[in-house]
């Protein structure tokens, strides 16, 4: 198992899990708030096409959670704005 944090809370998953799969399997659905309406968004296409499931990973914004593999110690945050 490897552990990363989402909004400061530790989450442990099997190696090879995507950030999106890790979040959904732990009941976390909202990955970002939109730039204009601050509307919550989540996984939509699941295969890296739609850019809706963006998160901030280790301070780097605009990371697609559905195609980003979790790494030990990764710091994942809800993305505010696009």
């Amino acid at each position: 198992m490897i552990t990363f944090t989402f909004e400061g809370e530790p989450i442990s998953v099997e190696p090879g899990t995507s950030v999106a799969a890790a979040l959904l399997s732990h009941g976390e659905r909202i990955t970002r708030l939109t730039r204009i309406n601050s509307a919550p968004r989540s996984i939509f296409c699941g295969i890296g096409v739609c850019f809706d499931c963006l998160v901030e990973v280790d301070g780097e914004p605009n990371q697609r959670s559905c195609i980003t593999t979790v790494k030990e110690g990764m710091v994942v945050k809800v993305q505010h704005g696009s």
Partner: protein, 455 residues
Amino acid sequence: MEVRFQVIVLGGGPAGLNAAKYAANAGYEVGLIDAGSRLGGQYWRHTGCEEFDQSVHHNFDQGSLLMDAVLANPRITVHSETNIWSASIINDEVVIRTNNGAFITQRLILATGAYDRSLPFPGWDIPGVMTPGAAQSLLKGHGVLVGKRIVVAGTGPFLLPVATGLSSHGASVVGLLEASGKYSWAKNSLELLRNPAKALEGVGYLLALRTKKVETRYRQAIIAAHAGANGSLESVTIANLDSEWKIRSTYKLSCDVAAVGWGFTADTAIASSLGLALDVDASGSVSVVVDENQRARQSNEAIAIYAAGELTGIGGSDLALVEGAIAGLAIAGSTQDLKTLKKRRKKLRSFAQALTKVYPVASGWKSWLSADTTICRCEEISYSDINEAREEFDASDARTIKLLTRCGMGLCQGRICGRTIADLMNSTPQERINSASRPILSPITLGEVAQEGLL
């Protein structure tokens, strides 16, 4: 980094895997470039564990043999997790720029596949509304169930394996809605008889769903989604439709996930970047034009570009495998007789064409939109924004709408809303082809461009 290969294949799904295998077996050094972390594409998406689950992985035995053969082939180099951000022709060579450096060749096979087609409706941007492909990829790739009470809706045969996979893994599929009519197959029953294996696959899903008490409701669709206090999906409004998909009556259903899809859109962005001839079918679907040997049309004679799979017309994995094999053999100049493969391709193509007739998207979906319905998810452009541009600025085509509203100019670059805007603006086939063009294929930072020495 710059790497040259005799043949480069883009995409590690059924078409790309077979293309790589056949080209390598014909004696060529092949580079296979794929965005995923494991080969297989969307169709054979898997967890990488030894044990796999037949209920979500159709034909996985075949896929796993093919993936093993590709990985074991000393003439094939696989580059996974490689995202392409530009494809161009420079000095009689194809240059593919990626996060892992540049790949260069004179023989390219495109097998970039397809993604779910989405239609907008009020609330489709609420967390919990997703494509069937998203629900499927999380289940197949990670063993994760996206929700507990799920409505699967839209049109097309793909809804059946998705609903079957979800329900056999413990989700309660509270609705399976097919917008087409129950007897739409009757008009094309000949094609069904010619492809008994496909017919049996469909019957298999229906039987599996029956044991879970999931019955398909025909001529019904989700026309609105509603969020609860936490901002997530809580319920959907479902409509009984007429044959044009106009609303006849409605009812509500509570659910935590709505998986909604309307067939597929081919990913033609790279093909368009390389200047390949594209075509548009009656449904508005853009595809790469290929000849008898899967060779695409473009103006540089020093370069051979082939295309296989969904890119040349949505047709499923069996057709993709055959097209991949033909492309791989043909690009290698193999003298092997392609007659049997071409005969099989013909049969599978005519089945695919019958499918598009059975599951057409009727224009009535436009009547489901309300003024505040989001059309472009990235740039948060509503239906009223588009209508305003139409009425106040006399915008009459998709390109003007884009320039006025920023619709389709966000991070996904119109991959999700492009076809919708074209439908709303009644775009001509040529306008649809033009809008498939994207000079930058995926977002990159200026730092990454600088690293490549391009700044």
